[in-house]
Symmetry: D4
Subunit: 253 residues, 8 copies
């Protein structure tokens, strides 16, 4: 579908010639809305339980704005990850309701605030430098309505810090462990809790950390059971998977 | 602790000089029982919800037999992974109750049959060659009491085979996707279901598959959300994590 | 050959002392024209069916301009790939007829517009971020006279978008699939069409995508048959090979 | 579907209780026939123009025999790749019509001999050690009805050998170049012909050839245009893709 | 120097024509004794404090025997590492005093028993499968006169096993940590002791452990300070370095 | 613990409402002091003999200042590594007593000057470009009270420079060898001294040095015994481990 | 050319129907002789100064024998590298004059003994385990008429052994350095001699030597000038290049 | 030696208190002159035939100037490689006689113009983008007195350009081949000439060229004999080794 058609349609909505519902129906004939550069997946919520999330990196500001414009017609919440401060500024000029959470580099517009879970997701980091990725996980989980408990800087170099927080970690439904350098924290926690652990290797480190490869391999080879792994620096993915599990448990209560 | 001490103790149990409970208490003073070559973790069930599993590779038959001997005193189920047919034969001569499941290379002795879950774990493979690893996942999950649904050879080269099984996959609580070569199946399933997907890359393939590296990278970089990954050929790990999630959901019902 | 000699000759052409044909003959004694820093291959069209294409990266603006100057004497179309906006601006000041296509980073001067094929090449991308490379393929194919059909953002995370476009894809003679991250789209399309598929891995992604290595390996290990692969981000190469096949088929009609 | 059901059905066919057509219809309800360990894709010929090919590596002899048994009901030609001499012997005891082509490690049963093309596919190797992979490509192409021209051992260390064969290479519709070690032959041929070149890196070499990685990278980075690449040692894939292109051209004549 | 000359000389020693001291002086003119295939470093003890150790891998049995023959003239202790049981059997037929320690694959002949240190070296392993490498370290350290404390199978999957042994570990002068898979144990111990930790990655594991690469990277990137690393499976090197430090401390008491 | 609480407490200290000791006790209930983004390990000196060191890279200036603020309450020396000149300037505006040592990129505040050892640590570099990392090692060692001897630019391309400094190197208790490119210096020194050698690969070099990987592998595979290795560019780690050994020896005198 | 034709021709030679010269002319029309599986390069001596060498690995015994048969018609010396003892036995049954040099795995038939050079090539190894590759270099050089000086086991762990042999090394025209593990010897020698050094990394080592990668990288990154490198374990290539240089110098005398 | 002492000495020379010869003798007691950050190797010319060359990368401008200052006392020619334009400008302000050759990034001060050889070194490049590295090789060789023949842009994509220059290449004593991307040119030339070929892989390319790794592997695995390889982008090393060989040949004439 040409952008032109979309623009016309949205103009008609603006001038109340047609309703939002009518516009949406026209656009969404195959479960997606077609821009030149993107096919926005309007069927995802039905299929996977969550609406589409915009991965901001590698997209121009204009493209992100265009996709938001389309998603607004679907009445879903809008979550954009990996937004640089510069892009965020431009986007919020167009959509002042898009909130920028700097630490996590996420932009968010909750058209419908989700109900919060009773169960908790614990987000644990090994060091202070892992905070940015941990926040991406935490904000993602919160955007999907999860209660989140942040436990930062409890790496194994001072393991008593971890033990002091063990009760908090154990009381969560799912544990997300965020660690760079050697990533040993995931194994240690995996041996101490009876809940699923999702490990996020980060690119924190230097030299033979090879931009997160070291932590990734550590986590994949963990001798502790019950650990699964996501991509290096993929805080979003960990938050998303943790949310899936947490909601699954919550829904059964 | 010397093996000698252990042997004495077990002999005393055999001759009814002391009870099993007394022996166990004596042995298990720090939450583990010490052999020369292994410290059997008798506290794991309390800590992580599951008793220790014996990783068979890299251990001699004598060592495996020794560890089984100790675990028998703890009245837990015994599960040994990665057992070659040759080792299995020797072990079952000593412990005829240890059952060998050839396709999964697992040995199993269920002292207490666990109650079966109502929820299902789906184990899906891309090809016929991934079967060995899929069985490791399936048998592991079954050993921990999970209902398992096996859906094999639905790789993306003939994607209609996958769609024919989609209802079965969607009705599971957790989906384990086992695939080698390019591992694309995980992404496709991740885009079609609203449940946690655990992806297992296998070493099936040749050339630039680099013994599973290709499938591993594919799965880590999946554009679909909700996918977490375990080590190459780690069927056990996937089965274990899936079981954790499935039980968590089950327990809330 | 010294640049000086070339300059003299071109000056003589400018002042009508000698004709273009005479100049070209003098220059082109061995099937190429020699600059200090480049030997322009004037024989390529005869040998491979296509005139030389200038790879713009790693060449200075002065070098590109010099090579264009020589190629103009051969009356062929001029195509320069990987031109930054900055370089493009400088070049078009010297040759205003060189058109810069920003999305594809290609500069083009069609001295003779090629006849357009009846058959179509389909260029398919997994995501919006793959657009730059897809455009390089598309513009290259168009420059060589091919009809091109662009089908963007139909990645496997929302596979219904792909199925909605399947007829368009199936009606093409050759399909170029452009995908980064895990690159699974190539395998899925390979299993659905009966035409040659040329896969282009892109460097889109982060972490364990290792700048396109993940997508490259995925595509090389595809379980679907009929897929061949070009270098990471090599849109030009895919467009060129697709054009070769398309013309081969067209010429037989 | 259980194997049991399949066996019953095939027995009924054998006893003429039901016809082959009836059996096939019963089995093939979703475009594939389900064995426990494999879902044979009976719809592939319609979808991709070729019937399914059995990849022999990683499958047990029993599994291969089972799949052949099913495919026989579909009246298609049967092609099994990567069959070891030992497996081949066992299979041909069950199906004496399965011919084993040792050099290419392929087993073949042509139920319907395909018509041969007028156009030719040239299979070119750099050295004698690349012969095994070249034969896999050649036999695959021949099985699909292509005329094949074998030009072996014309590597760049003695480039006059290549020039002596250049006419034969240039007269082909598609050129498959098979080379290990440094794989330079693909680039040299790419610069000399005006037809699509499919490059097959082989694992021939030692040391820093890293089992074909060196040749693979060479071919992906070729400075000549018109070259696409398949996986290391993937003679089948190259033969298949070449056949696709050759038939496409042939069909237009 | 020809082997012949050496043989003559040794024969002369055997027949008491010349003394051992005279033979040694003749041989050892440049601080080494020359065989055709080896130059035995007779000066090493003076230079580095330890006599040469024979690395058994990659040497033929005949070569090892030849080097032992020469070293016997120097009156030093003889230590051969990486000796397969088969080679060991052949060597001990020639030199019955060479003791073979199977678990560590070391052959040893202590011509002069070294005095034992008061200080202790702790050798700690993560798992049972790391035992072989740990024994190489332990036997090496003992051969150089160090008191050794073996603490095996205290990996982080059951970290209470480590805490139960912490006093023993802390009382050592140097700690050698031997671990495969993800190698997290080194970091945990590094954060708990105030002594130098030498980490030995082992090739124990599978899949993405890449034969010890994972553990190696973990150890190099440790967030705990005071950890240095040796090559994968280099138990000897760790035992040797630990011995150097232990003796340095001992000598100052 | 919230930052707010910490600020209140520190304000109370400033206004003499409570003493430093009282504040510290309140803060340090579990062996660490909790900031939002960091848990400062106040128990490390007791456990490992050294107080915590702040790794400056990947932390914001504000975070570093916050951690310093907390550590000041513990009366320990403060050492921050990897501080850029820009960050250093900002930090020294807040804490003028923090001294910035530009060559080593270390900031230092010695609240209590440690007693200097009699024994020496030798820091040896292969080239001039390794100086930055060597200084990180040297300054770290000096901060912990060690006498340090700097011997720079004695790489194997001119090995007589090394021999001229051999006495100085041999008289040290521990030798730190810092080398990039091929890193051969570590092996040469390892064969010439009888003291522990700690090798630091640096990222100096280009092309196939792969940012220090070449030197790292060289050092791990050294044929000389007694060499242990730290991460690429980890001058701090080498200085720290050398200090541990040096103090251990010193304390026994 | 079909093998059949070749066989006829050779039979005619055997029966004196035609002369060897006539047969050769008929065969060698394009500078090579065509077998089905190989095109023997009969023009190489004219072009590169050396006749073709047969690389034995990856060729069947029958193929090697066939190539020898052809080369015998060209009256050149025959050199086959990488011949296993088993293959050698079979070949020498057919051609008893083919001598097998076991240490170097080379088969040789000097139809014309080349004149020996006055200048010397020095072949130097770091250890005893590098001997096999060193002998491949040495025998190759000798086969081409070079005087060779073997200096084995002078690795940097005992550098005085190297200095004792320095005069012999310095008197050579070219120096070949063969080393595995960390490969530091090449740099040390490169800094001590004023002649070209050709470095051969060997796959000797374990763990992080990654089958010779470590030594390869070391040699490529050498800080000493005048060092060039060949493939891992490529003793033949080093011997060949050294011979080229040595003959070039010799010819000018 | 402190810089202060050096400064004093040089001041004394400037004021004619002592002669240059006296200063040099004082400084050069061990075959090198000691600065704090560098030990200038004044003995290298005697040892290796060439004076020390300054590798400019990774050294500060001040360090380079300091080393030049010292080398001036030795009356040798001064060659600095890898100098950025910015550094060059600063250096030439201090030493106006240092000439900057921009294309090669080399600074040069020929205090004594070397005699030029009669023999020629051919420097051949595959493409225009390889020019920078080729010039580094060419200028290095010229600085050492070699006659150099530049043959640029004759890559295998248009191999007739190479054949047109073959006589020029064949008449050289040594051939340096500089190529990026797939680096196939080295093998082609190696098969056509009877002189030593030194191959220089360049980092030219993108995607799977992995910054020169592809070309490096190609060259190491060349099927042509007589090729040795230097580090990626190491134009200097190739020029230096070529010069060594060329002078060796020249000196024998």
């Amino acid at each position: 579908m040409a952008n032109e058609h979309l623009t016309n349609l949205l103009n008609q909505v603006a001038s109340h010639e047609i309703t939002t519902e009518q516009a949406f129906k026209q656009l969404n004939q195959a479960g997606f809305i077609d821009l030149d550069y993107a096919k926005v997946d309007t069927d995802r919520q039905r299929r996977t339980g969550y609406s589409e999330v915009i991965y901001g990196e590698g997209k121009t500001t204009a493209q992100i704005i265009g996709i938001i414009q389309v998603m607004l017609t679907t009445n879903t919440n809008i979550l954009v990850t990996r937004v640089s401060p510069k892009k965020a500024q431009k986007i919020s000029r167009v959509y002042p309701k898009m909130v920028y959470l700097k630490k996590s580099r996420i932009m968010l517009w909750q058209q419908n605030i989700p109900e919060q879970t009773n169960n908790t997701i614990a987000i644990v980091t090994a060091g202070t430098s892992d905070l940015k990725i941990a926040e991406e996980a935490a904000v993602t989980a919160e955007a999907f309505g999860n209660r989140v408990s942040r436990i930062y800087d409890v790496g194994v170099a001072g393991i008593h810090r971890l033990f002091a927080e063990l009760d908090a970690i154990r009381s969560a439904t799912v544990v997300v462990v965020v660690a760079g350098m050697e990533g040993a924290l995931a194994s240690v926690i995996g041996g101490l809790v009876d809940k699923p652990v999702i490990a996020v290797p980060t690119s924190v480190g230097y030299g033979a950390s090879f931009n997160g490869l070291s932590a990734l391999l550590t986590m994949l080879n963990s001798c502790a059971s019950g650990i699964t792994v996501v991509n290096i620096d993929n805080g979003f993915g960990a938050g998303y998977s943790a949310s899936q599990i947490n909601h699954l448990v919550e829904s059964e209560q």
